[in-house]
Assembly symmetry: C2
């Protein structure tokens, strides 16, 4: 089949000069360069200002080109969620990998063993004696040493030892496995559920500090530069503040792990960011949404109803996506049309039902609508390629993902 | 980085002889061969017995190896939802493509134009004068003819003309576009919402028949072998029965388009199939679930709680997935352990919270749990590769997807 410039997105060959995604098959996921660059610099500066290292959670995007921008902006490493994600990042040149989860299963251990053999600087998390035994046995048999962080969790939360005594007991168990290197402490405050989250996230951050100090005092930490790490994209300000107040710098490298900050969102993290800015009015101009999905009106079958070619396979749908702007196909990117009163009422696999206001301003089949969503992780993973665009909505880069 | 047999799933190189997904990084999506083969033959026989052609909806799996099995089993063609899906199927050798949606946007039209130029037998759907005009103009400029089916919808439904008069009026508009070939009628009964769905789906099927006959009587159909097509995976029995009762065979090729039947499910389509078998007790041994996702217990942080490495990125979650069986890692596939009383209560991106019964029968970190889900389309699209396995849970084929 002959190629053509029209296959732009398919072939992964960026071509500038075409406004408004002109040659891109829609629906398509779009990242706007200006807010992306802003967010990238903003969060790095935030970490720097708080004396913390930034290991952005790469699971959000799984886009190596974005990992490289994060590293170039000053990130210490990349956080990942699974062994295959670590393998993918390493294959794309990321050498410092923080797997903020338990490493379970021999096939996953084998992936990590090969990464370590190949020179990766790797950490993962442990929270059970059973897993410590499994890892100790596996890595000893491979003749390798595995750096691990103990996870401190919360009652009713997700993974993690439930108290400091359990952390210390597990550290002693790690000390009994010659193949394991205790390298610090890990937590995730995103599972704190509370009516007073500011208080309780701070309290959890202090529990992390105290547990880390207990390990240090007991001489259980083997690594020369141990880590203390926490923070998603909602409460990073509180974690960073406590780590800073605790003056851990001399004993621990504090590492923050937000991921969603990079493209931000139009839902969950938008609201979380409002909370950050209320708590920290000194932080100027917060994060800005950079990720949208563009799709076209495919049918106008009844008054007040548009069917758009956007479905659950195209965009995160923890919440129904939000129409943001509209364009006429072939029109100009700088003259968007209104979508006041447009609202998605139902999302199927490949279709969105959009109710229109009584006077929908000349909507046509083919009109292009930009949608925002909540929780970027579950939009990124719908795409093997995303378009990075400039202000004219011309594609300046096709970003491959490696989910 | 050196390769190893452990990279089985990553490298796409099947290797037999390893029981229980031994070398596969979990979580992993698994298709069981026996129910797959059963479903494949069952639905083809159903279509044959009703004098209908089968064009399985390929959007469900987007796995070319499964398209080829469907075609080898007797399918007439493959149905797809979007132009890029059609392109992917054609690139893998599928030459008869039924795009059961509107073709909107010049980039999508360009994809289809190239498919037609390359020899694809292609149909898409129209339901608006605006889209007819757009397609007529585009394909005339390319010097191509595009076969289209008119969609008949339902009030309050999704796309489609709302009544027969609108269908006929649109057919006349198609007749005025030399680049378009009217090739029949399309509908989708899956959007019928009713307290008496059996009655209303049948009524809708008859409306399709009558509209097709009206087009035929008016001499508006140009194709020599026009199509009449409907049916998802829930009401195919009613559609097939009406098409058969209507004795359309002489004038129209009846085409059924179920997709989910191939791997079936543990939710929506399981219940729908119970309805089919109640309506049609003559149909022996219905469809069987073939798709599961296997994941491991990564943490047992509190009594009564297991955290499993299975998340929204791994499995469809319109409904919370259901634990089906459990295995000890390295154990035997023919001796699964119980999961009585195990229940997912919450799903995050990469983690499932599973409540355990008071006596969870020796659960361990590392235990492998098989999960079933509702709606296979939204599990397939989470994976670039799935494992087809035999009764021993040994991988016999790595199936690539082309979403």
């Amino acid at each position: 089949m002959p190629d053509s410039p029209k296959t732009l997105l398919d072939k992964g060959l960026p071509e500038t000069g075409n406004d408004l995604l002109a040659d891109v098959s829609l629906p398509a996921a779009v990242i706007h360069e200006a807010p992306l660059a802003h967010n990238l610099a903003w969060m790095q500066r935030f970490a720097d200002d708080h004396g913390a290292r930034l290991a952005p959670h790469g699971k959000t995007t799984m886009a190596p080109a974005l990992f490289h921008r994060q590293l170039a902006a000053g990130a210490w490493g990349i956080t990942l969620a699974t062994a295959p994600q670590c393998r993918a990042a390493f294959a794309h040149g990321v050498t410092r990998l923080l797997m903020a989860n338990q490493l379970v299963g021999e096939a996953n251990m084998a992936i990590v063993a090969r990464l370590i053999e190949a020179g990766a600087e790797f950490h993962c998390v442990v929270d059970s004696a059973a897993n410590v035994d499994q890892l100790g046995r596996y890595f000893a048999a491979r003749g390798l040493r595995l750096p691990v962080l103990i996870e401190l969790g919360i009652d009713g939360g997700r993974c993690g030892c439930r108290d400091r005594d359990a952390v210390v007991a597990l550290a002693e168990r790690v000390a009994g496995e010659p193949a394991l290197v205790l390298a610090g402490l890990e937590g995730y405050e995103g599972v704190v559920q509370s009516d007073e989250p500011t208080r309780d996230v701070r309290a959890y951050a202090w529990r992390l500090v105290e547990a880390a100090q207990a390990l240090d005092l007991d001489g259980l930490i083997e690594a020369a530069e141990p880590l203390i790490t926490a923070s998603g994209s909602a409460w990073y300000d509180l974690i960073a503040a406590v780590f800073q107040e605790a003056r851990l710098g001399a004993h621990f490298v504090p590492v923050l792990r937000p991921g969603c900050y990079l493209v931000h969102d139009h839902g969950l993290y938008h609201r979380a960011q409002q909370g950050v800015l209320q708590r920290r009015p000194d932080l100027e101009r917060g994060l800005e949404p950079a990720l949208e999905v563009f799709a076209q009106v495919v049918s106008l079958p009844e008054p007040g109803l548009a069917i758009v070619g956007l479905g659950k396979r195209d965009i995160g749908h923890d919440q129904l996506p939000e129409p943001l702007r509209r364009y006429r196909e072939g029109g100009r990117a700088d003259r968007p049309l209104e979508v006041d009163g447009w609202r998605i009422t139902k999302l199927m696999d490949q279709h969105a039902f959009v109710t229109l206001p009584p006077d929908p301003d000349g909507v046509r089949v083919g009109d292009i609508v930009a949608f925002g969503a909540s929780h970027p992780c579950l939009t990124f993973d719908k795409w093997r390629r995303l378009c990075r665009v400039d202000e004219r909505l011309a594609v300046v880069e096709v970003l491959e993902t490696c989910f």
